[in-house]
């Protein structure tokens, strides 16, 4: 009985740790947006400088190939940095601090339950759901941008080599389809996870009302 209680409690605390990570994910969305927007600003600035340089210095004395290549890598580099930044933030979340308390068995489990702030847990789960959803969308948009840049470059090469011009709307749609196909597992995982978080919220609400009604001595 005590072992079951400890294992259930461990499961529950692991779920709460996950919620804590997703809350950090939502908090990191601001940083993610900042990094992506800053990257766009830098990329557009370089693009404008290249255009001005071509216009006022002549095409033959305009930006060098190195600057052109650098320009192509700014946006992908920004997105990769943003994704890694968010991951780093999530990894820095302290989890498993409850493990020592749980080694005490049933009294430890009850002590943990009594130390929980239920309202903050409920709001945490709601934020976690939102963060998980928003990050999924932001990631797909960022990967869409990345794929579009790659396909635009490829279509440019195709146009030069094979003289086949590809409409940019087709390129954008094609990039979106590729990203959705490649992210289908991630999307499914997110959908399931949001469902699980919903379920956890309802179960905890029920458990909290039961727990409040009972008296435990730790």
């Amino acid at each position: 009985m005590e072992a079951t209680l400890s294992s259930k409690m461990a499961e529950f605390m692991t779920a709460l740790d996950q919620v804590k990570k997703y809350r950090t994910l939502l908090a990191s969305m601001t940083d993610f947006t900042l990094i992506v927007l800053a990257t766009v600003v830098v990329a557009l600035s370089v693009n404008i400088s290249m255009r001005l340089s071509t216009l006022f210095s002549g095409a033959n004395h305009g930006p060098s190939i190195a600057v052109g290549l650098l320009y192509l890598f700014i946006f992908p580099a920004g997105i990769i940095t943003a994704v890694f930044w968010v991951r780093r933030k999530m990894k820095s979340v302290k989890v498993g601090q409850w493990k020592n308390t749980l080694t005490e068995g049933a009294p430890g489990a009850i002590k943990l339950l009594q130390s929980l702030e239920w309202e903050s847990i409920f709001s945490g789960i709601r934020y976690a759901k939102l963060g998980f959803f928003l990050y999924g969308i932001a990631k797909i948009l960022a990967y869409w941008g990345l794929t579009s840049v790659f396909l635009f470059i490829s279509s440019g090469v195709v146009e030069v080599v094979l003289h086949i011009s590809v409409d940019y709307i087709v390129v954008m749609l094609f990039s979106l389809i590729i990203v959705l196909i490649l992210s289908r597992n991630d999307l499914r995982k997110r959908y399931d996870q949001i469902g699980r978080l919903d379920w956890l919220l309802w179960e905890l609400r029920w458990f909290e009302s039961e727990f409040r009604g009972a008296n435990f001595e730790a």
Partner: protein, 177 residues
């Protein structure tokens, strides 16, 4: 809260950058010419235009002669010759951007009906233009000093003649502000 403001500022900068980028234009053309032809580069007075003209001549054909609008002649014996041309901004925008005024003219021609002559089509959405005209009449250059169209207070035109056989690649980058 500071980060939200930073996001707002970055978004405003992006909007400004995209708006500024919409003032850049580019166009290009490629043509094979023989006999007497002309290259005509035109732009709205409020636009800048930078043009690169690559002239590729077969090494087996006779030399090319370029005749510029001021009468200067240049003989080209190399197989590849490049002309870079910068047309500065010479006037302000006249009219409104909302009502798209398209200027379509055959510059300096005595009549409007000369369909084979260079057709300049400029508008606020297309403020730079380039055209290669084949088989121009012998008095083409003489029209230069005698513009008979009212559009000349709104557009700048630069042209030169090419006598001979060549492939011409022209790229024009422009900015209208």
């Amino acid at each position: 809260m500071k980060k939200i403001w930073l996001i707002f500022v970055l978004a405003v900068i992006i909007v400004a950058q995209v708006t500024f980028m919409s003032s850049f234009y580019s166009t290009s053309t490629h043509s094979y010419v023989s006999g007497t032809s002309a290259v005509v580069v035109s732009k709205m007075k409020y636009a800048y235009a930078s043009t690169v003209i690559h002239i590729m001549r077969s090494p087996f054909s006779s030399p090319l002669t370029l005749i510029f609008s001021n009468g200067t002649q240049q003989e080209i014996t190399d197989s590849s010759y490049t002309i870079e041309l910068f047309l500065p901004r010479t006037g302000d925008f006249v009219g409104t951007y909302a009502s798209e005024t398209i200027i379509s003219t055959t510059p300096n021609s005595p009549t409007d009906s000369a369909d084979s002559l260079p057709r300049i089509t400029l508008s606020s959405k297309h403020p730079v233009d380039v055209d290669v005209v084949q088989s121009i009449p012998s008095n083409f250059l003489s029209w230069h000093g005698n513009p008979n169209y009212g559009y000349y207070d709104r557009i700048d035109v630069f042209w030169f003649e090419i006598q001979g056989e060549a492939n011409i690649f022209i790229t024009v980058s422009g900015m209208a502000i």
